[in-house]
Assembly symmetry: none
Homo-oligomer: 211 residues x 4
């Protein structure tokens, strides 16, 4: 029995490993192809082929094309958020924190261009998914804006939409050709455009203004 068990265990391990590897390759292939051709343009068969597996194998790992897409998007979002939070944790004040977040964001984008294209690029076919992604981001954004906006004439809902769009588009634009602007230029420009930085600038004019 222990023999059998061992055999079974080993076998399961190999199978499971193979399965995970296949899944990983499907996700990688999906990320690239979705980025290149969009949700509609990419076909499940092509993704499978690029992953080096048969067409049917796709459906052993994902219920349908949408599911792979979701998976890719949310995994990316989660990683991004984690990295941003880690970068933010070390910041002494809010302006520094924001700058750190943006730097991290740019670094992440640079390392995951395909992902950025899928997430924020034109050809935003995320369809229903788009809702979910934004619903996951916007409320927090709005909240922070509401807290921080003070007496300013800023409508938090409007500002949240504006901010989210601004950042996501700049990102998508930048990864298309990072030579267009240095990381610092992008970060500093985004900072200047951030609704709350105006307030921060007032509080610490020397730091933000004197360049």
């Amino acid at each position: 029995m222990s023999f059998n068990e061992l055999y079974v265990r080993k076998s399961e391990g190999a199978a499971a490993r193979s399965r995970r590897e296949t899944r990983r390759r499907l996700i990688a292939a999906g990320t690239e192809l979705f980025a290149r051709r969009g949700l509609y343009g990419a076909t499940s068969s092509e993704i499978a082929r690029q992953a080096g597996v048969a067409a049917g194998t796709f459906y052993l790992h994902f219920k349908d094309k949408q599911e792979l897409f979701r998976e890719i998007v949310f995994a990316a979002l989660a990683e991004l958020r984690a990295r941003e939070d880690a970068a933010a944790a070390r910041a002494p004040d809010r302006l520094t924190e924001l700058r750190a977040r943006y730097h991290e964001l740019l670094r992440f984008a640079d390392e995951n261009r395909n992902l950025v294209r899928v997430l924020f690029g034109r050809r935003h076919e995320a369809a229903d998914l788009g809702e979910d992604v934004l619903d996951a981001i916007l409320p927090g954004l709005e909240e922070r804006l509401r807290e921080g906006s003070g007496s300013a004439r800023l409508h938090p809902g409007v500002a949240a939409q504006a901010l989210a769009a601004m950042v996501s588009r700049v990102l998508a634009w930048w990864v298309e050709d990072p030579g267009r602007a240095s990381r610092d230029e992008v970060v500093e420009t985004l900072l200047r455009l951030h609704p709350l930085v105006r307030t921060l600038e007032r509080a610490h004019p020397t730091e933000a203004e004197e360049t």
Copy 2:
């Protein structure tokens, strides 16, 4: 001959009028259906049906689905621009001009919700088209930013992307439910977030700041 000519002319006129009318209806139907279902979701046959013509007629007026889409998008853009310029012409200074432009933009959006959805809504399947649209808008934007940004730490390319994204998204968000914010709130928030207004504010702090 002149008789015949007259007849032909008249006949051509009627045919041409009928043709133009068919085209107009196809564009109207396309606008609505693209807005409702997106570029991929809307089918050429459905557009034809909604326009009250046969499926094949579609292709007498447009090379393919993309062409109708282009047509709709650029016609809308042109009208929008004309109205904005008209509104801007009467402004005494740049802040007032910008405010007038935004107000006109919001009015236009309110009157053409479907168009806004097609142009800027999620499900931005404009695909290759998106490039063209933005290429048509962004250079001017960038130019103006370059002129106006003065010594500020703003990268014009980045800021142009940010601005375009900000405005287009806020528009798309607002037309989904105009009750979310008053027209004034939207305009004023967008103004506050505009890269150049910060500079303007500095120049004329009383006007923009004291509310």
Copy 3:
């Protein structure tokens, strides 16, 4: 205008005629293939090919495979019923009427072997459809049995099921090879097995019994 109308009319007529013809051929091909391979075994493409049209054309005429199947089955049922009723109308008494119905049924079956195979053959994949077909037949059957059964120990529901099964199977069996029994033999055997004929026989023993 009358010219145009005429043209249009003629054109519509030709198109409509062509359409009807295509539909007719799809139905014919479907009847044969469903009979030969069953609902699952027959493929929409094969039906289209056999009808001499492209695969997609199938779906211009029928929502899906099931719909063609339904169409075939109910059209056949309707025709059968009409012919039976016509045959029955001339009968002076119930036994004669029933005999006439059975004779007409056999004649119909002989002329439409494929249809009989589809309707009653083994490989009864009519699935949900089967319900509808039987629901269309059984209630009337049961009603007549209830009226006619008199004091006999017959449960009308059971007898209705039995009768429907008996007739439909015999039909399917017979058309497989009509040489197995003469039309008269089939009719007379079915008559002898009919629940109500026993009663009738009792009433008029001479007519039904003395052979």
Copy 4:
């Protein structure tokens, strides 16, 4: 050697027992799923899963899906026949025997509703199998009818088909909802409809007629 032999035997015994158990569970799962979803609707993987084994295991026990289906059907048929014969053995005359057979049949059907659905229910996808099943039943039936029908105007082939269909359909109908008719009602109705009972009734009018 005898030691070794013993060991091998014991080991084989355990393996064989396990194998038989797996097979038993596949058959049980197959019976249920074929009844619920039909031959096409049930998938080999689903049957394996319900049996608690891996997909591949299915094919260690059965050449293919059809084979399991055959197995189920013929095993059921054999059991049914055995029970019927046992019940019939105690009968003093043919009418009593037939009544006993029918009662046993109903009892069996009630206890094995899934089986009845597989065997005789609509969605008769037994396909080629159907032939075999009926070929196994009908000849005997026909023979008995030939013997018993005496001078009556009954074609034995026709009557055999009719009888088989009648009984199998009534069974399938009844197990769907046994509340539709009592066991006695079903049996008595079937008896009245049996080709030979007419003759029997003539012979023993008191028993069969006077109720």
